[in-house]
Symmetry: C2
Subunit: 172 residues, 2 copies
């Protein structure tokens, strides 16, 4: 029975929801094929002209997850070139992200609630403890971009529902 | 310096993001007024005909937060009738939710990672430990409905950005 730790509060969440994200993207591909249009129309779709397209939503969700796992573990996140333009490539990107996150060890995150995390932004450095970074940056950001990907596909008529987002194995 | 606990992994997240949700809804009201249309057009808006309207997105976000806080604390969540139909009423709903969540004490959540949580659903009971409930149900559900509210307003041209969602006081 797992008890609370920085590992338990972060890594399984990313694994669980990235697995849902992969399944949701695959349903997008299947839906486009069934309705006989190019699935990459979905990849370029936006909810508003100056919002980021679906492609970027997935890349940012991936970066939020691997960046958080790496920062909390005190290691460098793997560099993945942002070259994905198709839904199929985005599925592979999510798989690569999952591979990295699954490689992070429980003990690498021990004590990370108090580790200093510095985010470089165009508006200057943001400094957090690991706990505040996870709670107010990494998790909200990650869920935001996964949900927006879901909303883009749902808005385009892809037959997905809340359980696709929450994940089939709710207990796990 | 707070360290990780079930309280720290849940209550401040709900307070932080409900505060953002309130501000986002208020920007929706201001935007409708500036553009001279009834803000309640936004309250009834949907991203797809069979998706829930904005009103329900906010009510579910409220229920997810107060239900999680109450269940983890082992107390009954306050009953709030779901009668809200206007954006202004939704702002009040979020305020009431915040009042309850702020009333939950740190010690009420002690040990809740192993508390059994039973959710009654139309498809049968779902049983979780407190940790799995928070991680795989309460937080993803909560962020989903706040983000969808954001996306509905953004899709309608309300001038909000990611920092409105992440919250102005990122460090806190």
């Amino acid at each position: 029975m797992p008890t609370l730790s920085m590992y338990e509060a972060s890594i399984p969440t990313f694994i669980h929801t990235l697995t849902s994200l992969k399944a949701i993207l695959q349903k997008g591909i299947a839906s486009a094929e069934a309705r006989k249009f190019d699935p990459n129309v979905l990849a370029a779709s936006r909810l508003y002209p100056d919002m980021l397209p679906l492609t970027r939503q997935v890349l940012i969700a991936s970066d939020a997850a691997k960046g958080a796992a790496a920062r909390l573990a005190g290691i460098e996140p793997p560099k993945i070139e942002d070259t994905e333009t198709t839904l199929a490539e985005l599925v592979t990107r999510v798989e690569k992200t999952l591979d990295f996150i699954k490689s992070v060890k429980r003990e690498q995150l021990d004590g990370s609630e108090e580790r200093e995390i510095v985010l470089k932004t165009p508006r200057g450095d943001l400094k957090f403890t690991g706990l505040l970074f996870l709670r107010h940056w990494a998790l909200p950001n990650f869920f935001f971009h996964v949900t927006t990907t879901y909303n883009l596909l749902r808005h385009a008529g892809v037959d997905i529902g809340k359980l696709d987002y929450l994940g089939g194995t709710l207990q796990g």
